[in-house]
Structure formats: structure tokens, C-alpha cells
Symmetry: C2
Subunit: 93 residues, 2 copies
Amino acid sequence: MELAAFQDVIARTYADRDRERGIAAAVAWLAEEVGELAQAVRKGSLDQQRHEVADVLAWLTSIAIQLGVDLDDAAGRYADGCPRCGSIPCRCG
Amino acid sequence: MELAAFQDVIARTYADRDRERGIAAAVAWLAEEVGELAQAVRKGSLDQQRHEVADVLAWLTSIAIQLGVDLDDAAGRYADGCPRCGSIPCRCG
């Protein structure tokens, strides 16, 4: 799936509700989902871990939408490897 | 950019370093980056917000790689809209 297509489906699914709640609520939800992912990493099944990875990705995307950030543009920061040292693999000290 | 291509470039860039650090370190880095995104949402420029969205996405992807979670599979949870109510737009109460 393209990042742009994922952003589009999240926008069509949640944009109205997100607009009502505002971005501070989305940041709080993202934090909550990161907590759930942390727990799934520690003691969850692979299915639970996949579920929580998806939820973090979805909330991150909701925030990007509200900010007017294009997820595909953002991902471009890493498209050629490490943004700090510019190499693949990363050679940062 | 495809989610699979993003996961691939992150793996080639950081897999060796991530293996050395372990997944608990990646969870801590993700939490740190979410904090930076929260700050950028509150008072950052659009460029800073885009940068932090990218960093959260990259750390989430590093965790997925270490878990053996395919980001594209995970995104499938939202491909047909809200996973709870199954509709676009979401109609959850």
C-alpha cells in the first residue's frame, strides 16, 4: 500500500471526527497507542503487536492530516538512508 | 512511496544498529520522538512538524522490523475504513 493511499483512507474515515476533537486529542491518543504498543512488545502476541503497530500508524497519520503534512513527503526524509550521515547502512558515530 | 519500500530502506539503514540496541531501546526512542512531535505540534513550524512525523514513522518502522511485523499487513487493518464499525466515514458511537 502506498503511504499516500493510507493517508487518504484515514482522512476519509476519520477527518470529520478528528476535526471535532482537535489535534491535542489526537496527540493524547497517539501517546495512549504508543503505550499499548509498548505493552504488546513486552508481552503480546504477534497479532497484538501488528494491531498496535497499525493503531500507532493510524494516529500518527491523523496528526499528519490535521497538520497538513503529507506522509509521503515526510517519509522522503529517510528515502536515501540516514538523514544525518546520508548513508545506507547508517554510519553515525 | 510504498509502505513496504519504506520498511525496506529503514531495515537496510538501521537493522544492524537496532539489533545491537534491542527493542526496548527502540520503544524508548519512539516515546522520545512522540514527545518531540507533541512539542512541534504545539509550537513548531510545518517543516519541524514534517521532520518529527518522519522520525516517529521511522522508529515505529524499526520496531515493526524487530517484531517481524510487516507494515503493509498492519496498515491493512485500516484499508477498508474503521476496523471497529467497518465503515467510511467511521460511524462508531
